[in-house]
């Protein structure tokens, strides 16, 4: 409950700068805020891992061509 209140206090649905015309839905809007950290973290890990994999594959293909 406390957590919800904190999120609600931080939350603003202000769209004054945008040109949104559909209702984002309070629950849908809040959920993105709540999950933002997890989404950013998992995306970071995923892209980081992808880069390592690509780098390793490049290294492997270079060695094979030598």
């Amino acid at each position: 409950m406390m957590c919800t209140l904190i999120v609600l206090c931080l939350m603003v649905l202000s769209t004054s700068k945008s040109y949104a015309y559909i209702d984002p839905g309070t629950g849908s809007y809040l959920l993105q805020m709540i999950a933002a950290g997890v989404l950013a973290g998992s995306f970071f890990v995923k892209t980081f891992w992808r880069r390592i994999k690509q780098g390793y594959q490049r290294l492997l293909s270079k060695r094979q061509t030598k």
Binding site: L10, V12, Y19, Y21, P24, S28, Q32, L39, S42, F43
Partner: protein, 461 residues
């Protein structure tokens, strides 16, 4: 001279659609100027149009519409046939979803974001999904969540998950729910195991719970602005993309999907039928063809190869799936496979029953193909032959139609478990009833069968 406003164009104050002299125009309103300019000047429009992800347009110098408040008037490329998500097979909806996310990623690269994510904003052009709403973008403000997240989940993720994991026919919910599948419904229908997938748990189950929990909460807009970093936004899009890519559906095991492997025709009879349809198509100058009961599109493909824009309708989602995948594989840009139940064809739906067109509103076609169909309508669905003739006459000016007599094994099978209350179902009655509305130009019996194929032309009223 002034244009006529398209009846579905009223929700977004950024602009509106008009038709004039058979062409379509999109008005960009003054208040949307900054966003439209950014779309063009950032290079986003060009990149999307060149990638085939967005419909191309030209700016019309002077407004031909006679309307006020226009910043620009655009003339977009015409979509040959407007289709709706309740007419799409699984892979069409999935491709439309992935196209939407690809557009979103490119928009973010250019400092913009999709302000809506409606499945109705996607249409099939040259066989591939394209965004038709040029005004779907707004300037991205880092920190703000995605306004269209709910809409995307309702229009794409929820129906795709239900189609993939429960029953492919769930796409018909679009006919009832104009703004996509309610997430609480998706959450209650989807298997329990989906709660152990992080993406499904978040985007469907927790999303539904969050909607329910905060449906009556009034948010204080004066508080500190919320923050959702761009990294979080990219994470959200990546998560949606991954979960949608992982949803699969295999087209097999339905009544119609093995139709051409069954015993309806001998090998020679089938070859004869293909040649005959080919010849009859050459006798008509047709730019648009509707193939009704097209199965996996064997005959539609003949029309498409001749350059006709061909809409290939079938009731079976598995047939439409196979038809679509084959068209994509072959790069067949003239084919549009769609799901349609002829006994209950797509009606007008939406606000004032005017937002989405009925299938008849989208016609007529130059030519209608109705092969191995009439016996299903007349016997399985008790539709009198005269009513079938009236229906088909409203769909197109020419008709290639096959009459399957009562002696045919397929008709015998239909009659096997029911009383024959169809004394009028004869070749003579068929020709007489269709003859009141059509002129029979040619008829020929299919080899090794008693089936007869006709080419007819609608008599001008």
């Amino acid at each position: 001279m002034s244009g006529e406003r398209v009846s579905s164009s009223f929700r977004d104050p950024s602009g509106s659609l008009f038709t004039l002299d058979g062409a379509i125009y999109r008005q960009v309103n003054e208040e949307y100027k900054a966003h439209y300019d950014q779309l063009i000047e950032s290079g986003l429009y060009r990149e999307l149009a060149e990638a085939g992800l967005m419909v191309a347009h030209e700016e019309v110098a002077a407004s031909p519409l006679g309307v006020q408040g226009a910043y620009k008037v655009l003339k977009p490329e015409m979509i040959p046939f407007i289709s709706y998500p309740y007419e799409w097979c699984f892979s069409q909806l999935k491709d439309a979803a992935l196209a939407t996310l690809e557009i979103q990623k490119k928009a973010l690269d250019h400092g913009m974001i999709l302000k809506d994510a409606s499945a109705y904003n996607i249409q099939f052009l040259r066989g591939r999904p394209v965004l038709i709403d040029t005004l779907s973008f707004e300037t991205y403000v880092e920190g703000h969540p995605w306004i269209a997240y709910k809409q995307f989940c309702q229009h794409f993720l929820a129906p795709l998950a239900m189609m993939s994991l429960k029953d492919v026919r769930f796409n018909q919910l679009f006919r009832i729910y104009i703004d996509g599948v309610p997430l609480d419904m998706a959450s209650s229908v989807l298997p329990y195991r989906t709660r152990f997938s992080f993406s499904m748990l978040l985007h469907i189950h927790l999303h539904a719970k969050s909607q329910k929990r905060y449906e009556d909460v009034i948010i204080d807009k004066q508080k500190t602005p919320s923050k959702m970093s761009k990294q979080s936004m990219l994470g959200l899009i990546d998560s949606l993309e991954s979960v949608i890519k992982g949803l699969k559906w295999s087209a097999k095991g339905t009544e119609w999907v093995d139709y051409y492997q069954d015993d309806s025709y001998t090998a020679e009879g089938l070859q004869h039928k293909l040649r005959l349809v080919n010849q009859l198509l050459d006798m008509v100058d047709c730019k648009t063809v509707w193939d009704l009961g097209a199965n996996t599109g064997v005959y539609s493909r003949i029309a498409s190869e001749k350059g006709a824009t061909t809409v290939s309708f079938d009731i079976d989602p598995a047939c439409v799936e196979l038809n679509y995948l084959e068209a994509v594989k072959n790069g067949d840009s003239g084919m549009l496979p769609l799901i349609l139940d002829l006994t209950n064809p797509s009606p007008r739906i939406g606000w004032a029953n005017e937002e989405r067109m009925s299938v008849m509103d989208r016609g007529p076609a130059d030519l209608v193909i109705a092969l191995a169909l009439v016996h299903h309508l007349a016997i399985s669905n008790n539709v009198p032959l005269g009513r079938i003739a009236e229906f088909l006459a409203g769909m197109g000016s020419h008709l290639i139609i096959e009459f399957v007599p009562k002696t045919d094994p397929k008709v015998q099978k239909l009659l096997a478990t029911r009383e024959d209350v169809f004394p009028h179902y004869t070749q003579e009655a068929f020709e007489a009833d269709f003859g009141t509305l059509f002129e029979i130009l040619r008829s020929e019996q299919v080899r090794d069968s008693e089936r007869i194929i006709y080419l007819m032309r609608r008599i001008s009223q």
